[in-house]
């Protein structure tokens, strides 16, 4: 405050007017205190309730957007796949045997069948050991052993698929080439399923084995949760009747947990069904319907991943590949919805 301002203040004070402070403010001789106040975000000042409401709306909108993602994906892929669906009807695409993009022939049949082969073999290998392991972890393992094993199984779930693929190339493929295939064609060669005409180990079986290890942790963790959720009283009742532990598990626990175990298997299946990189690296990628587990196959996922590079150069090729992605998406969605439907039925009649 300069001396003139002090004089002005004094004169106002001495003048004896009652509202001298207001007058001083008016002439900005004293300023309102500004320091010490926190700066705030210049948000509109809602009441707390209104804030809550607005946040709820926003979060709801976000949730709805995320929920619409699956239909949106199907729609976007469908729009991109339309050019080929106009030229070739869907039934021809699904049953067509020939894949010759340069001649305009796009038959998905070998790829779809190949996917089912690899996934089927993988699940056959994966389900028994993973269910048994889940039962062991839930029913037999002591807490200390369990807390040691669970992180290891989580670790298995975290390993990236290319690493699985490398492992497959380095160990599974040579194993099949040098040991499994010669052995099977020698002893089981009469069965067409085990006949080996493929000189390399890149085969349905290799894909299946890699997939099996990939879905181990998924089936184990879900199935274990489900089995542990069975009420303890049921077990005690069965044991009290003189049943052994295994009898209790087989007749009581698994019966109760059946639906959940099925859900675990379906989850593993859909994961295996859509796996791309690991399978692509070991399965051989020959566009022919396999007849034996030692034949190479060409799954749908591998088809999409392998050809993305050249897909813009050949007419209709991109439409065909995105149509393959659409088929894959719809198949996976169908499995999941079907399994949910079955599950609600099973639970209802329990």
């Amino acid at each position: 405050m300069g001396s003139t301002e002090i004089n002005r203040c004094l004169s106002l004070f001495i003048s004896g007017k009652k509202n001298y402070i207001a007058l001083m403010k008016e002439e900005t001789l004293i300023r309102p205190r500004t320091h010490g106040q926190r700066w705030r975000l210049p948000l509109p000042k809602f009441g707390r309730k209104r804030q809550d409401q607005v946040a709820g709306r926003l979060m709801g909108a976000l949730t709805l957007t995320a929920a619409l993602l699956a239909p949106l994906m199907a729609l976007a892929l469908l729009l991109r796949a339309l050019p080929i669906l106009r030229v070739t009807p869907l039934t021809d695409l699904l049953t067509g045997q020939d894949w010759a993009p340069l001649k305009g022939l796009f038959g998905f049949s070998p790829f779809i069948v190949g996917t089912f082969w690899v996934t089927g073999v993988g699940m056959l290998i994966a389900v028994p050991p993973s269910l048994l392991t889940a039962i062991f972890l839930a029913e037999y393992a002591r807490p200390r052993l369990r807390s040691l094993l669970i992180p290891l199984i989580d670790l298995l779930a975290g390993i990236p698929s290319v690493v699985y693929g490398i492992w497959g190339i380095l160990t599974i493929v040579p194993f099949i080439e040098k040991v499994a295939a010669p052995w099977a064609s020698r002893w089981l060669g009469v069965l067409p399923l085990f006949r080996s005409e493929n000189p390399t180990g890149y085969s349905v079986l290799a894909g299946g084995m890699v997939l099996a290890v990939m879905v181990f942790p998924i089936i184990i963790s879900v199935a274990e949760d489900v089995i542990r959720a069975v009420p303890q009283g049921l077990r005690e009742a069965s044991l009290a009747l003189g049943a052994t532990r295994w009898q209790t598990i087989w007749h009581v626990v698994l019966k109760r947990a059946g639906a959940g175990v099925l859900a675990a298997i379906v989850l593993g299946f859909s994961r295996a069904f859509g796996e791309t990189m690991a399978v692509l690296m070991v399965v051989g990628n020959v566009a022919k319907v396999p007849n034996s587990i030692f034949d190479p196959a060409y799954p749908l996922t591998a088809l999409i991943a392998n050809n993305y590079g050249e897909m813009m150069s050949i007419p209709l090729y991109d439409a065909a590949l995105l149509c393959a992605a659409l088929i894959l998406l719809l198949l996976v969605l169908a499995f999941n919805i079907a399994s949910r439907w079955v599950l609600t039925r099973l639970v209802r009649y329990e």
Binding site: I166, W246, T301
Partner: protein, 281 residues
């Protein structure tokens, strides 16, 4: 007697299965370390590929390491921003109306969608917007991929919060928003962190979704619109060359990727322990 034998038989089978599962883990880690370690050196971690790298000449995979960290880091950040509100909404705000049920079903279904489909979807969207393969495209696609994983993890951990805790917060007069931000998030911090790092691990290891959307380049990215390399694709491409020396590098790259993923899960465990002190029991 027969019952005892069955019991013994079943236990033997269980032991064998456990051996198969743990044995395959050991075999995978063993193979990657055994094959990858000899080819790993400092130059691989600190240099970008130089001319003729894919023929066996000098260089490293710094481009892929940095690219992968950018991709997965960016995607995880975005996914947190989107998933946390969704999980909170589903647990605290949502009623039992039809569309909330639809949202839950849809998110569950998204969880099962293969990553290659995310890649193809991201690709169609980028074609629609006229974008080229770029860091941004890769981040957005990975965000979509990580979203259902993260939402599920967060949803489960928020569901574990005791009802009494929520009710105490409400009884003190706090709104749902205040309860979410000041009570629930703090209480579930370990679970949220686990979900976030799980999604990060999934994102960094995924190859199929970035194949279309992020592209591949030997240079370090300087902007969001640049194409960007990633570790899984580096492994894949190097393995695809016919030169044994380059394939060796693919094994080393796989080892780097595995180490990053394992470190993530270790960090997740450590953080979870630290965050647990805020929990009301």
């Amino acid at each position: 007697m027969k019952r005892k034998l069955t019991e013994l038989f079943a236990q033997t089978l269980m032991g064998l299965s456990l051996l198969v599962v743990i044995g395959s883990l050991a075999l995978i880690l063993g193979t990657v370390i055994w094959k990858g370690l000899p080819a790993l050196n400092l130059a691989m971690l600190t240099q970008v590929p130089k001319g003729g790298y894919y023929l066996g000449k000098e260089g490293g995979i710094l481009n892929a390491i940095v690219g992968s960290l950018y991709l997965a880091g960016g995607a995880t950040l975005l996914a947190v921003v989107v998933s946390l509100p969704i999980a909170l909404f589903l647990q605290l705000y949502a009623n039992r109306s039809r569309w909330v049920q639809f949202a839950r079903l849809s998110l569950d279904l998204l969880f099962g969608v293969p990553s290659i489909v995310y890649g193809a979807f991201g690709f169609t969207i980028m074609l629609f917007l006229g974008m080229r393969a770029s860091l941004l495209g890769g981040i957005l696609t990975l965000t979509l991929l990580e979203l259902p994983i993260m939402v599920r993890g967060m949803d489960e951990s928020i569901a574990m919060v005791p009802q009494a805790l929520k009710e105490s917060a409400y009884a003190l007069g706090s709104t749902r928003l205040e309860t979410s931000l000041k009570v629930i998030v703090r209480q579930t911090a370990p679970g949220l962190m686990t979900a976030i790092l799980l999604a990060f691990g999934r994102g960094i290891g995924d190859a199929a979704s970035v194949l279309f959307t992020a592209g591949y380049t030997d240079r370090l990215p300087t902007s969001l619109m640049d194409p960007v390399a990633s570790l899984p694709l580096a492994v894949f491409f190097q393995l695809g060359t016919p030169f044994p020396a380059v394939q060796q590098r693919a094994y080393a790259s796989a080892l780097v990727l595995t180490v990053i993923v394992l470190l993530t899960s270790l960090i997740s465990r450590g953080l979870t322990k630290r965050l647990e002190k805020h929990i009301v029991r």
